[in-house]
């Protein structure tokens, strides 16, 4: 028997239709069993988390996203909230589909505009792209930024169909400015068209939030809870409401995640794909993000998986301090689009260039619903897709580049649910291995606060402008501000036809 075949079989992990192959990593013989005893701590931490321990100590929060697909594991109060919300999501979506809930002019809703960012957009975007078809019950569009032109563009595509458009505003905190701005821009568009926005809008947000209050007269409100983080919220109303409106199989999503959760509770690192994947990442990145994780699904429908994983992985693991307060500057950088497409973009560098990465190949066994054509005798387009995956993997291995291969049967709701759960638990285990809190994001606030100070400065700049042309330095001096920021503000105002009477050698 070939050594490769022996190693392949020994290291292969197969559960619930998902196969994880870590044999192309340059791990020593005896791995991962050699890691089993130190992994006990990760299993213990996950156990405690699932039982309701405070797994996010900085924010004194429990971490309950695993309860979303197994409410029987949740404390009584949360259990009721989960099951009630799921029922309400389904009932509301059915009402929309049946025309029992209609827009301000009595038209049935045919489209949904989802307004959210980060954890309130990446999951819904992944799901709609992975599972959507031309026979969906509703088509989804997104506002996922505060770019005015970006929103205008989406509105132009909805032009003429606003009366059939339901708006779903999603913000856990209810105070995210991009989402607030998106909501205001959408509201203004509905009002320009003469429609009552409140009769087109629903909210998904925490009780008592700014958004929750704004949504008082809307069609419906769905809850978010402080025990579900944004990046693990796809199986709460955040992800399930858009999916249900689109007509996707939400029970399949939940069942897939539930089954993967169960499979990844097994306390055996070789038989538990999340444990094995966490150990594989830890090996390949030396447990300190020494190499980037390149995610290459060979399937167009999984194009957004890498973007989803950027948040899940980088926001969870990218931490300055460990749980003991020691500065560790941890993380794991993630990028990638899809294969074989990316082979024609940057496999040149992956194979020959700077050796700062390892690849996660994702293979999907099912090619297409129907038989399809042959592109050569006995050969299909899908055979080429597999050929390119295996060929690229071999070409990388030849140059000592490591890779992992995850194989799934198809791109169904059940499989997507399983993938979401697999990566959530992998990240959770990995966090314990490197002793960090995966469930907070202390570094995000600084940028938001600095942004608020730029906007406050803009108000000062505008009020300091008068009929006298003055230079940037004079204006900055008048309001005791940094000239560079004053310049940036003035340049932007001027480019948009505002504050055009400001002058200075750098104004354009």
């Amino acid at each position: 028997m070939s050594a490769n075949w022996k190693r392949y079989q020994e290291l292969l992990c197969v559960v619930d239709g998902v196969t994880l192959d870590v044999s192309k990593l340059k791990t020593p013989s005896g791995w991962p069993a050699s890691e089993a005893s130190r992994f006990e701590r990760a299993f213990d931490a996950m156990d405690a988390l699932e039982k309701g321990a405070v797994a996010n100590p900085d924010e004194q929060r429990r971490v309950g996203h695993y309860w979303l697909r197994a409410p029987e594991l949740a404390p009584t109060e949360e259990r009721a909230a989960i099951t009630d919300t799921l029922s309400r999501v389904k009932a509301f979506s059915a009402d929309v589909h049946m025309g029992r809930v209609v827009g301000s002019t009595g038209s049935k809703f045919s489209r949904a505009l989802i307004i959210g960012i980060g954890g309130s957009a990446l999951g819904p975007q992944l799901a709609t792209d992975a599972l959507g078809s031309t026979s969906d019950k509703m088509s989804l569009s997104f506002f996922d930024n505060t770019d005015p032109d970006g929103m205008d563009r989406v509105l132009a595509q909805l032009s003429g169909a606003l009366k059939e458009t339901l708006v779903v505003v999603i913000s856990k905190s209810g105070g995210t400015k991009e989402t607030r701005n998106g909501m205001l821009e959408a509201k203004a568009a509905f009002e320009r068209a003469g429609f009552d926005f409140a009769k087109h809008a629903v909210a998904v947000t925490g009780a008592g939030s700014e958004l929750d209050k704004a949504a008082a007269g809307w069609l419906a409100r769905f809850p978010m809870w402080d025990w579900v983080g944004g990046r693990t919220s796809q199986l709460s109303a955040v992800g399930l409401l858009p999916a249900a409106l689109q007509g996707l199989d939400v029970d399949g999503l939940l069942a897939g995640a539930r089954a993967m959760d169960a499979a990844t509770r097994v306390r055996d690192v070789q038989k538990n794909p999340a444990a094995l994947l966490a150990l594989a990442w830890h090996h390949a990145s030396s447990g300190r993000g020494a190499k980037d994780l390149v995610v290459l699904p060979y399937k167009d429908r999984l194009l957004l998986l890498s973007r989803y994983l950027q948040q899940l992985v980088m926001e969870s693991l990218g931490k300055e301090k460990d749980l003991d307060g020691k500065v560790v500057e941890q993380g794991l950088s993630v990028y990638g689009n899809k294969g074989s497409t990316d082979q024609h973009a940057y496999v040149q560098q992956l194979r020959d260039g700077v050796a700062n990465h390892f690849v996660l190949f994702v293979e999907v066994l099912k090619d297409r619903p129907s038989a399809g054509i042959e592109v050569e005798p006995g050969v299909t387009s899908g055979d080429y897709l597999l050929g390119f995956l295996l060929g690229t993997r071999a070409a990388l291995a030849e140059k000592g580049r490591e890779s992992i291969t995850l194989t799934v049967p198809d791109v169904s709701a059940r499989t997507l649910g399983a993938l979401i759960a697999l990566f959530e638990r992998t990240v959770g285990f990995y966090a314990t291995l490197i002793n960090i809190n995966a469930y907070h994001q202390p570094g995000v606030e600084a940028g938001k606060k600095a942004a608020e100070s730029v906007l406050a400065l803009q108000k000062k700049v505008v009020s300091a402008l008068d009929a006298t042309p003055r230079g940037v330095e004079q204006i900055a001096e008048a309001i005791s501000a940094e000239p560079e920021t004053v310049f940036q503000i003035l340049r932007h105002l001027s480019a948009n036809g505002r504050a055009t009477h400001a002058a200075g050698k750098y104004a354009r």
Copy 2:
């Protein structure tokens, strides 16, 4: 005067409406002037390249993409080819728009399906997304992979409109398998619908290629030349034909690139934005890809810029050997999507986590065509967008993370042309700084060859199957193949209803 403001002004480079700010890098005083003398070599190499020297020594090819927007610089023969092709692209597109060239049933073309991958897709995709609107003359779809389901999905969206669909097949070599497969899948779809594919198809390819021959009876053929590389082909027929069909301003694209080329011929590193950007990248990545380049355009329309740059940068710079044959394993990893969206995904790690990156912020001054609403008194959604850019930049700087800021006036054809030229020249200069050939991709062939061997093995596997159920190892032994690959092939065939009589403990 604040030290920051002084440094900002000293290092600022402004040309042709584009502003490059490298003041947030931790460069020593006197930089970049201190690099001027060693940069002379890069200016010389670029000069020689533009004059027709063999700048790609491994393939003994000239590198002529700068001629595409300044044909007067090209040798006589190439000059005629460039101008003739541009005229033909415009004339053909006008014929299509005016209904002088129509589909097999006499219908005017309203859509174009572009079939290409890598350099034959990334540029067209960037341009269509950056510059498109609901008033375009034609809408574009893409086959950019050999994923059967992915192609089915695009065809489903074109369902009912095939008679109005023009197919543009783009392959420089004319032998790219993904593109060949896409062409065959499209052809089959047209035939199923009863339409004559040849009356819907045009090709962009090298003279005499496999595709060129297949396209003999098609509506038109446009040339590609061996002196234009795939990743720098956006301003050849590869990018200009899709753009012209869509109704984009191809003259604007060319003019923007031409002006940026002129601005980046200036032999002064502080006044030449491509030279300054190359030096900035070199500084930030220690001239060896020590840190990743995170591209964050704060504009939805520039979402695909990072994917375009992944190819341009990584395929150009990701090289094993330098020009002297020394093993250097060079490169520069690129990723990113858009701001402020990505702030909610992974700025947590960029600021607090593993310090393995630097950021290129891209600011667009113009917010939207019309005035738009205020989201707070005196404040627009666009003000927030700028606020988040500056806020995030400050939050990163606070933790010692370096960044560069590129500011453009708008997202117009002219600006996009300028950006393409700026990055092409930056990469060219950078390649000279690290002494590598930016214009070949020797590492790409290995994966393709390995893929061909998988497909050849599949044929052997299929012919080895007979009525007797056998395990993977027995089949592998019978054809002297590696059992793992045999297993992968059988598993894939079986999942797609083929070769289901193969068995074995790993068959699913």
